[in-house]
């Protein structure tokens, strides 16, 4: 089986649209008869990542690659970068503004949730340039 790819653009200015890419991927995975528990884990990881791109990083692009062994998600933004990844991974730590908190986000659970949902996660970041988060959920 060759791989299937999906590409999404995430608009950093539109909080209302945030989550559309994750919602679309979830629908597609269901149609492909991916097991429900895998669909849920992929959806959570991607949704948290997508929201992060909007609230912290001015949006970006998401590329998804699916083959028979795994679902790979690459989330790329041109945001400010993450100064301290270890701190950012701590549950409850957040740099979100009060405005973001009022919208129900910025609890500091995003990155920990992504790590817990995926089988592997890697963050590449450069201050003033952007961040790329790569996550993989295994199918077998």
């Amino acid at each position: 089986m060759s791989s299937i790819q999906f590409h999404y653009t995430v608009d950093g200015n539109d909080f209302t649209k945030a989550g559309e890419a994750s919602s679309d991927l979830k629908r597609k995975l269901k149609k492909m008869h991916v097991p429900p528990e895998i669909v849920r884990r992929v959806s959570i990881a991607m949704y948290e990542g997508e929201i992060n791109m909007v609230i912290h990083a001015y949006g970006g692009v998401i590329d998804v690659d699916i083959d028979e062994s795994r679902i790979l998600m690459v989330l790329r933004d041109r945001g400010p970068g993450i100064p301290d990844i270890e701190k950012a991974m701590q549950a409850g730590y957040s740099t979100a503004s009060d405005k973001i908190n009022a919208m129900g986000f910025g609890a500091g659970m995003g990155l920990p949730n992504m790590k817990a949902s995926a089988d592997s996660m890697h963050i590449d970041t450069e201050l003033g340039v952007g961040t790329t988060v790569t996550m993989q959920v295994d199918l077998a």
Partner: protein, 118 residues
């Protein structure tokens, strides 16, 4: 196990978007206003109790396969939220009661919290 319709009746809560299956079982409940907590700790087929009033509540419910959402404190969501819930087939109801009282009533009637956050 308690169904969505039984939850609605216990609370005297009115449907804004009725459930696709009123007899669908509700596995557990989760009360939160922070969506990242819901994403981390709620269970699928559970009932979300919240006062948060933006469309991300609906997206979170979709991502987590929640059974239904109860908006508390008599807050009515805006039409765009209701429309999104309708499009995605997500049941939402609203209660005039406080979050504390909604939780209390459901707990008294046998519903329990998420096993992911005991």
């Amino acid at each position: 196990m308690t169904t969505i319709d039984e939850v609605s009746k216990l609370l005297g809560a009115e449907y804004l978007v009725p459930p696709l299956d009123p007899d669908q079982a509700v596995r557990s409940c989760y009360a939160a206003d922070m969506m990242s907590d819901v994403l981390a700790f709620s269970e699928y087929d559970s009932c979300l109790i919240t006062g948060l009033m933006n469309v991300q509540v609906i997206r979170t419910a979709e991502i987590k396969d929640l059974a239904c959402i109860i908006f508390t404190r008599g807050k009515l969501p805006k039409p765009d939220l209701v429309e999104m819930a309708q499009d995605k087939g997500i049941c939402i109801m609203f209660s005039l009661k406080s979050t504390f009282n909604v939780c209390g009533i459901l707990y008294e009637n046998g519903l329990r919290g998420s096993r992911n956050n005991e």
